[in-house]
Symmetry: C2
Subunit: 144 residues, 2 copies
Amino acid sequence: MFSKTCEYAIRAMIFIAKRSKAGEKAGIKEISKEIDSPESFIAKILQDLSRKGLVLSTKGPNGGFFLDDKLLDGSLADIVKSVDGEKIFSGCGLGLKQCSEAKPCPIHYQFKIIREEMRNMLEGAKLSSFTEQLENRLTFLKRD
Amino acid sequence: MFSKTCEYAIRAMIFIAKRSKAGEKAGIKEISKEIDSPESFIAKILQDLSRKGLVLSTKGPNGGFFLDDKLLDGSLADIVKSVDGEKIFSGCGLGLKQCSEAKPCPIHYQFKIIREEMRNMLEGAKLSSFTEQLENRLTFLKRD
DNA sequence: AATAAAAAAGACTTTTTTATCTTTTATTTA
DNA sequence: TAAATAAAAGATAAAAAAGTCTTTTTTATT
């Protein structure tokens, strides 16, 4: 569904959101441990997200990644678009370059419905909304 | 969503279904032309599907790929499972190895709904059901 | 000012996916 | 039986994705 890069990105961002709501920054080591991802891979991914302005960071002692209130209000859809692009929301299910109402593939209409649901779901999923269930250990970011 | 291999596979199978309903076999050249795919790549893909029993073939003059009535009743879900595996139907959206009701990821329940809809849609999409709209040029397997 | 901490940057490696090319095997037709 | 046709098989190549390692830059603390 999503690329591995995107999966790690979402998990990391949800974790950073949790730490940010607690008023703290998250370092690469901590993040990679908490979401069970390769350390230098998630480092690279977060550098990209940082360049794109989806996450903030500071260097040096006590540095790390964090989100301000505006970014906490961002959605998983923002991350997916930034990492994997629009394809999952608007690409043709059968890979046709031109697939639209005017010239649909055989599963165009069925797929469109599912894609729209995916978009709605991800756009509604705000980063700030996951903290509580994570803290109550009702949901998890790694197998444990 | 699907791998390129899977996209080509579905398009090829829908085309073969159309030709089979007309009582004819489809050769690699014809298929690759009609679905706009690399010839030797779709050849390889169909060999796999043939080995797995999802499509029939004969060699030699007048040979080619075709589907009998039982295979025409197969669904797109069969192809997806065969090519890309179960992941799209049951894998975790965030890539967790263990993600279930017992230990869900933060988007487990929302994703589950979408995955189930995807499964229903693809299981309901029988290969034999696409012929008519294709013939009436209401749907397409390539950009043209 | 020196040291340490942490992200940024960039080069590199490995693995997987996508794609191509050549040879072999099976079948039909002349 | 020879020639032609078409898929099967297998080896190889190219491109993209996933992952690692080293060096540089920035910032805080002593």
